[in-house]
């Protein structure tokens, strides 16, 4: 099963877009994967990382809206190659493509649910995603913070959730809410292996007292949401002014032109993303199986354990 990762949190301003974009690039470098980024947010924040507002309008005919467009639902859905724009080719062989967002997706967000048009649109999107899965190793969906039509469509096709948080109770509550409200409809959300909570904008402690305070704060958050404890990533993205987008079209942080004085800060941010990408990649392998570890060796170990315990499973012949 190929992973389709939704970057989502019902709390806004936690860094979904920044983390989705830059993690995709780091994953392409680290894991040499072919990755497709999709901007499902009608605010088009991810798209603005790579192009201006005018350009978004100019590209309206080749945007994510075409994946939903129900006018065409009797026809075949488009192919990713019809809509994608190449963003990055890694020297290691990885690749990142994007399907830009469209302000038009807002139309879908305000259509009454249950009507024929949204149903057809959701179906159309599902068909498109099947084609995308065949072409890419990993698909990353950037969603908007409300439970809108496109967000629910993202959860329909996703099988892994990455929830960025700033270390506060509100942003963790946003994830708790997703799990609580939506896990009946999306059963995979009940599996802690399929959720990763990605701490963002963490201050670098400058003194012992600050370290102590931050540790205590993190401990408090973990104890408030014990079920999410083993889903919180240990690698985090530290607070950096470089991550604030000033003008549209800035691109990935690793490719941004900066003053020499900020070079060290940039390399630290890039290292954060690289480490986080490694951890995320391991988590994806844990969730979807990895030939290196989860094949015969696992089965042999399980049989050995049963033998040692003396109460093996009943085998019917």
């Amino acid at each position: 099963m190929k992973p389709v990762v939704a970057f989502m949190n019902l709390k806004g301003g936690v860094g979904k877009t920044t983390l989705a974009g830059n993690t995709a690039r780091a994953l392409a470098d680290v894991e040499k994967q072919k990755i497709l980024l999709m901007d499902l947010d009608s605010q088009c924040n991810l798209t603005q990382l790579f192009c201006s507002a005018d350009e978004i309008d100019r590209r309206a005919e080749r945007s994510v809206y075409q994946c939903f467009e129900s006018k065409q639902f009797l026809k075949q859905p488009p192919y990713p190659s019809d809509l994608k724009v190449g963003l990055y080719s890694s020297p290691t062989g990885g690749q990142v493509d994007i399907i830009f967002g469209s302000y038009e997706t807002f139309r879908l967000a305000i259509t009454a649910p249950g009507k024929l048009v949204p149903k057809a649109a959701a179906q159309h999107f599902g068909d498109f995603m099947q084609r995308a899965r065949a072409e890419y190793d990993l698909i990353i969906l950037d969603t908007n913070p409300s439970a809108s039509f496109t967000t629910l469509c993202a959860l329909d096709v996703a099988n892994f959730l990455v929830a960025p948080i700033t270390m506060d109770l509100f942003s963790l509550r946003g994830i708790h809410l997703i799990k609580q409200v939506l896990s009946d409809r999306y059963t995979w959300l009940g599996n802690p292996k399929r959720i990763r909570i990605f701490p963002n904008r963490i201050r670098r402690a400058r003194s012992d007292a600050e370290t102590e305070m931050m540790e205590r704060h993190e401990q408090e958050i973990r104890s408030r949401f014990p079920r999410l404890d083993s889903s919180i990533m240990t690698n985090r993205i530290h607070e950096s002014r470089l991550l604030f987008q000033r003008a549209p079209g800035g691109g990935f942080i690793a490719d941004r032109q900066i003053y020499a004085i900020h070079r060290r800060a940039k390399s630290k941010v890039c290292e954060d993303f690289e480490q986080a990408a490694r951890e995320l990649s391991l988590s994806l392998k844990e969730a979807f199986g990895d030939a290196r570890y989860d094949g015969e060796a696992n089965l042999r170990a399980l049989r050995r354990r049963f033998k040692e315990d003396g109460d093996g499973p009943v085998v019917r012949h």
Binding site: R222, S230, M233, N235, R305
Partner: protein, 120 residues
């Protein structure tokens, strides 16, 4: 003068640690019980790396020895369904063991297992 130049090169914390060491050695030689640490115990991990934070939690916060930490964390990971082939063998150096482990198991799972030991 020689002593002064030796001392001058030390930071305040290093100087205090040296004084502590001397006192402990003197007390041990005199047959007295070693006094309590004079320097303040470190409040948090030295850096933000996952291995450092997990090692801090096990060694400093829970007071486990390196071997004990490895044994308990291995057991906790197995309980969480991590395959034994992913858990490195051997003991001794906790930091090196954690580095090897974190190449095979995601940090979130390892940290979760460490917190389970803490909450027991």
């Amino acid at each position: 003068m020689g002593l002064w130049s030796d001392i001058r090169a030390l930071s305040k914390a290093e100087f205090e640690a040296e004084v502590d060491k001397c006192r402990i050695e003197l007390d041990a030689a005199a047959g007295r019980i070693a006094p309590r640490r004079l320097t303040r115990k470190r409040a948090g991990p030295a850096d933000d790396k996952p291995a450092t934070r997990i090692s801090f939690l096990l060694k400093e916060k829970l007071g486990l020895s390196e071997d004990e930490a490895i044994r308990k964390l291995s057991a906790s990971l197995r309980q969480q369904g991590v395959g034994p082939e992913k858990i490195p063998q051997g003991g001794g150096d906790l930091r090196a063991w954690l580095d090897e482990l974190l190449d095979r198991v995601s940090g979130s799972v390892v940290m979760g297992a460490a917190h389970k030991i803490e909450n027991r």
